[in-house]
Every structure is written in C-alpha cells, then in structure tokens.
C-alpha cells in the first residue's frame, strides 16, 4: 500500500476518442434528456396552440382550408351551443362544489386523524375506483339509478318509496352525479397532497393556542390547502365540461357539454367549429389557471416533489 512512483497515473483514463465526444456526456447523452420536452412541445403544445389558427380556417365539405373567418365562432355564439356551453359550466361548477363538500373533509380526516404509516393505504382505497375505467363507472350508473335499478329497488323494498324515481337518470342531475362519481377521488388526492406538505407542528401550535375547530379550518387548513384544492377543482371542472361520455350515457336527449359539442362537430366534419370549441375550452382553462395562480401561487403544489 506504500506509494510507488510507478502507480502514479496508472489508472488515468484513456484520452477522449472521437466517438466519446459524440456519445459522451457532452454529446448525445446531454441531449437525450430533452426528448420529453421536444415530444410534448411537438405533440401537445403545438396542437393546442394551433387550434386557434385552425378555428379561423374556412370550412370545406370534408376538411378545411387556410383563410381567416370567424364563421365558426359566429356559429358557436349565435346557436344553442353557447347556451349549452354555459349550462355545462354551471353543471361543472356544481360537480366541483359537491366533490369539495364530500371529498375535502375526507382529505382533512386522513391527514389529521390517520397515523402517518396508514395514510397512504387509506388513499389507496380511493385509487382503486379511479383505476376502473371511467367508461364502466359511468355506464354502471345506468343500472344503479335506472327505473329497475338498485337504488330504486332497495328504497322500495324498504318501503321508503312507493314508486321508482325516474327523474334522476337522463337529466342534468344524472350528469352531475356521473361527474362527481367520476372525479371525486381527485379532490381527495389533491387536498391530501396539499395538506401532506403542511408540517405537523402547524397543527400542534394550533392545539397549543387553543384554536377552535372553525377557525382552524378557515384560518389554517383552507389557506394552506388552497393551491391543492384549486388544482383539484380545475381538474374536475374542465373534465366535467369536456368529457363527452357522461352526458352521452347519462344525460337526457338535450344534454351536452363542451366535449360533446366538439365531438359532434368532428362527426359532422365541421373541423373549424370543433377547433373553435377547443379554443374556447382551452382559453377557459388557461384563464382559470391564471386566476388561480394569481390567487394562490400554484407552484406551491410542487414543493413535495422538488
């Protein structure tokens, strides 16, 4: 183990070869990490941005051609579509509110009253339904809420109802129930993640100061969880507006949302109209996120992973 001059530099690396410069850490290896960015700019950001351009193209019989016309927007705003869009916003807002009322207390409960080790297992309970196809879950609401469905038959067997309720399914209420059933877990995840980032001592200090239940909720829990709640709410809101499946399967004959309007436009080969609706939808989303960011600083959500 004594130092010998012969050993000096024995394991010195070989001088850089040409292929090493090309494939080494200064070459391709460095650029490999940009693949996801390039992919997402190309196949996500670009299509989303270009919808604005395509929405002002001229409609042809089966396709569209470059031009500038606001015909699609005119078509949207002067027909029942605009009204339907507003209605679907209303229904989406109702879904968000109901999800919050049902789901957020669960997030608080898991964070505050379940031991650290068990918290993630309880969360898993809500991942399970989320993992089953939304298609199946929405579809399943039909036999559950239908005339001969399980809700009606149980209520009638118990003697609470004398006649089955038929007004739930194929109505706005059915759509809202479908949305809540589909997206409720997201409110719980987002709320829980936001609360998980809150250090325990915050709650301990509140206990120490004797903060009341209501004040604890309004002064501590809500502000700290606000970015998470907001992110969860936006998710539920845009999906309630944009997932065509729910009104298709659960709504009545007239039930539509933004997603379904776009879908119908595609089926009718009115591509500029579909793009106009996408543009309006994306604009709504960006506006919401912008407002949310100004209010709550959404970058806080990233703290647990940074």
């Amino acid at each position: 183990m004594s130092p010998s001059p012969a050993r000096r530099g024995r394991e010195l690396p070989a001088p850089p070869a040409r292929w090493r410069q090309l494939f080494g850490e200064n070459g391709i290896q460095r650029w490999v990490f940009y693949i996801p960015v390039v992919f997402f700019v190309l196949f996500f950001a670009a299509p989303m941005t270009l919808t604005v351009v395509w929405s002002v193209f001229e409609r042809t019989q089966f396709w569209m051609e470059p031009g500038f016309t606001l015909f699609a927007y005119d078509n949207f705003f002067t027909s029942a579509r605009a009204e339907n869009y507003l209605y679907s916003m209303l229904h989406a807002a109702a879904s968000v509110l109901i999800s919050f009322v049902i789901g957020f207390p669960i997030a608080v409960f898991i964070r505050r009253r379940v031991t650290r080790a068990a918290q993630h297992r309880v969360i898993l309970l809500f991942i399970l339904p989320f993992m089953i196809s939304e298609l199946v879950r929405v579809f399943a609401m039909r036999p559950v809420l239908g005339r001969n469905g399980v809700v009606n038959s149980v209520l009638m067997d118990l003697g609470i109802l004398s006649e089955p309720i038929t007004s739930i399914l194929y109505s706005p209420l059915g759509v809202i129930i479908g949305d809540v059933m589909s997206f409720l877990p997201f409110m719980i995840f987002a709320g829980f993640l936001a609360l998980e980032a809150v250090q325990n001592y915050v709650f301990e200090v509140c206990d120490d100061l004797g903060t009341g239940r209501v004040r604890l909720f309004t002064d501590i829990v809500l502000p700290l969880a606000a970015p998470g709640i907001f992110a969860g709410s936006v998710f539920i809101f845009v999906n309630s507006m944009g997932v065509a499946l729910v009104p298709t399967l659960l709504g009545g004959p007239g039930a539509v949302n933004a997603g379904l309007i776009a879908n119908q436009a595609i089926v009718a080969l009115d591509f500029p109209l579909a793009m106009a609706i996408s543009t309006i939808m994306i604009f709504t989303l960006v506006l919401l996120l912008y407002i949310g960011h100004r209010l709550f600083d959404l970058t806080k959500i990233l703290e647990p992973i940074s």
Binding site: P3, R8, G9, E11, P13
Partner: protein, 366 residues
C-alpha cells in the same frame, strides 16, 4: 516534503457561477503529491464547489483543473484519477458493505478473487474486519464513513477528495476519525483533499490548509503558519480565538510599525509590510497570549500594554476566558488554562491593563 515533489493538483483561475450567482471566483493554487490538504472555510464560501470542480462533479465556468499535469477540466468524474468520500447517505443502501467496496473494482473488471482480497485488506485497514455482509443501515455513522473511505481507497487512485466527511458525526467520534484519517493517509501516501468548516478538524489532519471564503482563496499555508501567523485579517478572525484591533499608522521603521489606537500607541512587528503614515491597519493577537494585570503593574519592556476595563469571566472547561472592554468599546478576550492561575482577581468594571508580547502580534494588510 522534498523540495521538488510532484504537483498532484493544479487549479488555474478556476471559477464557477450559477446564472448570476458566483460560487467561486478566479482561484489558483497547487497541491503537492502525497500531501494532506484541507480546504477550510465558512459554509457557503465555495470550498465544496472547488472540491467538486476538482472531482468533476461540476463543470467549471472558467479556468482549468490539472491533475498530474493533465487538463481534466471537461472530463466526467469516472475518467479522473480521483475518488471521493461524501458527507453522508452516499453508501449504496441496497448493497452489502462488501459489494459497496467492491463496486468500483467490478467496474474495471478486476478478477473476483483479487476483488475479495483487496476488499478484505481495505476493510481491515479502516477497522471494519468481518463487516462484509452488513447492510449500510446496520452500521453507525462512523462505520458508514469508514466503508466510504474503504470504497474510495480500494480503487488505488492518486487523489482522494473528502467532502465534509466527518460533519455528521458527533464531536468525540469526529476527533477519533480525524486521527484515523491522518494515520490512513500516512499509510497509503496518496494526496488527500479534505473539505471542512471545522478548524480543529483541519488543524488535526492537514499538512497544509487553504482558507476559502466568499468564493475566493483567502490564504494558504502550513497548518502551523495559518494558525500562528495568519497574513489576512479574515484568517485571524476565522481560525483560533483572536483579538483583532485597528489603528492608524503613526510611524514606520524597517522592523516595527507604530499604530495609534486613539486610546493608546502600540508597536507591531512590520513583517515586511509597506505601510505609510496615516493609513489604517489591523493586527491580531491570539487570546491565549493576552494577559490582564492591574493598572500600573509592569509587564516588562518586550510587552505592549493598553488600558481596559474588566467585564466578566466565562468558564469553558479546559480554559477560562476573561472578557475586557477597551476604551473604544471593542471587546477583547484573554484565555488561560483552567486551574492554572485562573482565579479571578478582578471585579466587573474594574480598571485593568491588557498586554501582549510585542513580537507575537501580527499585522494584517487586508
């Protein structure tokens, strides 16, 4: 050290910045082969950045790193003749001690039999004989650092980098490990570069010390020089327990500089500094050299004496610190060994005199 020892590490105008933040300004120095070299400085001063630049974990923004005379500035860590010991969490948690140590040898395809021998030899050198099958989480903090050391040394590279290797150990263990590191370095004889913010650690292990602060190399020298005769005021304030005083130059000669402290005039060895009358200058005296007496008591001709008022004494175990306040408001500390005439002779507020041997004060130009 022989007068013409080979240079193991040479750093030339090395700089690193992250966007607008400069971590390391232009730093140049060199380290001789086989030395135990410490980079000492406050946290955030750039010493770790410097070490990581030498190891290849960071790309320099400016300047060059030469290892054994070869420019390695743009080579990744695995292609440099260095290996590194980290502060903590650096053992591979999914491998046994044996596999951790053997990892680097496997990469260069050493035959399995040789690997086993070399691993065993290295484990016994760091005092972990028979720990082969343990998992990292079954080891104490000190043992984990020993495994790290074995993992680096087994590669028989020429330069070992240690990034705060003892910072997460408790004080007692740190002292033990310091001596152990020194012993191992003397045994293997390769160059060690050790980053620490702990001066005691640096003084224990190092042949030479470089003080790094604010991204700059403040001062560099043997451990004894840096401790006893620091050139820079920063060094005096950072290492040891020094009293730093400031005054205006009133007179200069070849060997002495006379300083006016407003409340007293003192003479300081000039140490070749070119100062002119009227300039501001600082000097320092180590606290163990300061002596407190009653006013008017004579200390001797080779002593400089200034008036002060007594503040209090603080018992520190091994030593006792006596605090005094000079007329301009600065506080000074005199340190004596406990039980060695440490009985307090003064009352708080009492007028006293403070003195030091003239030739032990050190003038600082910057």
């Amino acid at each position: 050290m022989t007068e013409s020892a080979a240079i193991a590490v040479e750093v030339v105008e090395l700089g690193k910045n992250y966007g607008a933040v400069t971590a390391l300004k232009s730093v140049s120095f060199s380290i001789e082969s086989g030395q135990y070299y410490a980079l000492l400085g406050p946290s955030g001063g750039g010493k770790t950045t410097l070490l990581r630049l030498i190891g290849g974990f960071l790309r320099p923004s400016a300047g060059h790193v030469y290892l054994h005379g070869r420019d390695v500035s743009h080579l990744p860590p695995n292609r440099r003749p260095t290996s590194m010991v980290f502060q903590n969490y650096a053992l591979f948690p999914h491998m046994t001690v044996e596999r951790n140590v053997a990892y680097g040898l496997k990469l260069i395809k050493v035959p399995p039999g040789d690997i086993r021998d070399r691993v065993d030899r290295m484990l016994s050198m760091v005092g972990l004989e028979g720990y082969n099958r343990r998992m990292p989480h079954e080891l104490s903090g000190g043992q984990q650092q020993r495994v790290q050391l074995a993992r680096s040394l087994v590669l028989e590279r020429d330069i070992l980098l240690l990034d705060e290797p003892l910072a997460s150990l408790d004080a007692k263990l740190r002292k033990e490990m310091c001596l152990e590191l020194k012993r191992i370095q003397e045994k293997v004889g390769i160059t060690f570069i050790h980053v620490t913010h702990n001066q005691e650690e640096a003084l224990t292990v190092a042949d030479r010390i470089a003080i790094i602060a604010d991204g700059e190399l403040v001062e560099e020298g043997t451990a004894r020089d840096v401790y006893e005769t620091p050139n820079k005021r920063f060094t005096a304030e950072f290492i040891g327990d020094n009293n730093v005083l400031e005054g205006t130059v009133s007179h200069t000669s070849d060997t002495r500089v006379a300083l006016d402290l407003d409340f007293a005039k003192v003479e300081i060895p000039a140490r070749g500094a070119a100062l002119s009358t009227g300039e501001r200058a600082a000097f320092s005296i180590r606290s163990e050299l300061l002596r407190i007496t009653g006013r008017g008591e004579d200390m001797g001709a080779s002593w400089q004496v200034v008036p002060a008022s007594y503040v209090e004494d603080v018992y520190l175990g091994l030593t006792v610190s006596h605090l005094v306040r000079l007329p301009d408001g600065t506080e000074a500390v005199a340190r004596v060994m406990s039980g060695d005439g440490d009985e307090n002779r003064f009352e708080p507020g009492q007028e006293v005199a403070v003195g030091w041997p003239t030739d032990r004060a050190r003038l600082h130009i910057a």
